[in-house]
């Protein structure tokens, strides 16, 4: 947050660095958040040449392939790894980059695309390509094929995996930037860290080591509850902790970084900033914390409170982190034998 100017490449006569921004299984929101650093983007442009960013600039895979290993200084990689093509790009960018950063929730923990890990390829394709979904018209039941023979030769489409992987389940990652998406000011802070050359230890998450609750102005009184409520069932008051009003707020399990945006507008935190420092499994942490507010010592009543109040435990505890969790996915139905 300091006003110190970046040691921009131009300013002190150093050669400009090379920056790549890539997306895999993602939504594009992470790029928008990068643009959200506003005029500071000019400082980034002064320090780096953007060699690749499919969302906003031209840049060919072939040009990256031609580069020497480690030629790219920093690669911000967002998105999880769902297809063979994404895995190829992750490996290529790893090889060509000195510093590979898992950028945003999708790359660090799988995020929403990772919830597909409750299904397999077959189920996802059935859902996407059968004529039964309202938005799909596919009377001939056309499906993507990994290989198609045409007179000119064979055409390949990437293989779609049963299980989405996080970036670090695929290649070695240097740093992590959490958030869905990372908040623009946090992105700028991270860029400042990179430009300063004063780098944290490899494997570090660049961000804060505290939780959303620490930034939340609501009062907590350690009140226990008999019932979890869905957001549409209550209009919460502005002052009391949402959790103590029965709403499922993930603030106490979630890393700070957003300044507690959601609870300040009467909406519970859903955990987009991922686990706090030292937590191995976000969902495990969140479900423990949530269990401890239940006001009951009777096993049947406890079970009832949970099944009534939390009908979708995975969507609640692992909305952003299923792929990156210890369990990684739901039990997989037997994989289909055919190729795609």
């Amino acid at each position: 947050m300091s006003e110190s100017a970046p040691t921009s490449g131009n300013g002190n006569g150093k050669a400009k660095g090379k920056l790549a921004i890539y997306w895999a299984a993602s939504c594009g929101g992470c790029e928008i958040s990068i643009l959200g650093i506003d005029t500071k983007i000019l400082d980034v442009a002064a320090a780096f040449d953007l060699v690749m960013c499919p969302c906003i600039a031209d840049g060919k895979v072939r040009d990256i392939e031609k580069m020497a290993d480690g030629e790219i200084d920093v690669c911000l990689f967002n998105g999880g790894i769902r297809t063979s093509e994404q895995e190829y790009m992750a490996r290529l960018l790893r090889q060509k980059s000195k510093c590979l950063i898992a950028f945003g929730s999708c790359a660090t923990e799988g995020c929403i695309p990772g919830l597909g890990n409750l299904h397999n390829r077959q189920e996802i394709f059935d859902n996407s390509y059968t004529s039964e979904t309202h938005s799909t018209e596919n009377p001939d039941n056309v499906r993507p094929q990994a290989v198609t023979e045409v007179p000119e030769g064979k055409l390949h489409l990437p293989i779609f995996y049963d299980t989405l992987k996080t970036l670090d389940q695929t290649v070695d990652v240097d740093y992590y930037l959490p958030g869905c998406p990372p908040e623009s000011p946090r992105i700028w802070e991270a860029i400042e860290v990179l430009l300063s050359g004063n780098l944290p230890a490899k494997g570090a998450t660049i961000g804060e080591n505290t939780t959303v609750c620490d930034y939340c102005p609501r009062t907590r009184k350690n009140k226990k509850i008999k019932e979890f409520k869905r957001t549409w069932e209550v209009i919460p008051d502005d002052e009391t902790c949402l959790l103590e009003q029965g709403l499922i707020c993930a603030g106490l399990a979630t890393r700070a970084g957003c300044g507690a945006l959601c609870p300040q507008v009467n909406s519970p935190c859903i955990g987009c900033y991922g686990p706090n420092e030292g937590v191995e499994d976000y969902g495990a942490r969140f479900l423990s914390a949530l269990a401890s507010v239940i006001d009951s010592e009777d096993p049947d009543e406890i079970d009832e409170i949970i099944s009534k109040g939390i009908p979708d435990p995975i969507g609640t505890f692992y909305r952003f982190s299923l792929a990156g969790s210890l369990m990684r996915r739901g039990k997989r139905p037997a994989p289909a034998a055919t190729s795609q």
Binding site: V61, R62, E65, K66, S84, E85, E87, Y88, N117, L118, A146, H156, P158, I159, Y161, D162, T163, K165, E280, D281, G283, A284, R285, L287, S288, L290, A291, S292, I294, S296, E297, P299, I302, D303, I306, S307, I310, D312, P313, I314, F317, S325, L326, M327, R328, R329, G330, K331, R332, P335, S339
Partner: protein, 165 residues
Amino acid sequence: MSEQVFEPKIVGFLCNWCSYRAADLAGSARITHAPNVRIVRVMCSGRVDPSFVMKAFSLGADAVLIAGCHPGECHYIEQNYKAMRRFHMLRQTLKAMGVEEQRIQLVWASAAEGQQLAEAIDKMVDEVRQLGPLGWSGNWEENGERIQALEDIVKEHEQAMEVTA
């Protein structure tokens, strides 16, 4: 000969003050129970973080047992109530992932209840044997086509490189 019986691997988190002693007692009293439980001694059932359980599953356990002092008898006052609430939350979450309820059990056993603990273990082993192996890590392995697909991409790109100026 009939086919080999499946011997489930069960990780047991046993409280130092009660169930761990109960297991010890069962041992010294020569009460037999199925040898399928790998015991991890913890200071209290309240120490068992759900991530321990998930880690056990992801590393190949077929089931996990958590055992602690009876409600009201925890050495750390109410930590076993905490363990109980957490256990129910965890079991429902694991169930949603496709892990059957019998694969995670919470048992109360005082230091004197070696016999009861042995019986609970035997029952659990039987139930898990019926369910069969869990094999969770095999759940995210992709088959050989993934490696083939990657090699195809590399090959295609190499060939494409030669054509361009």
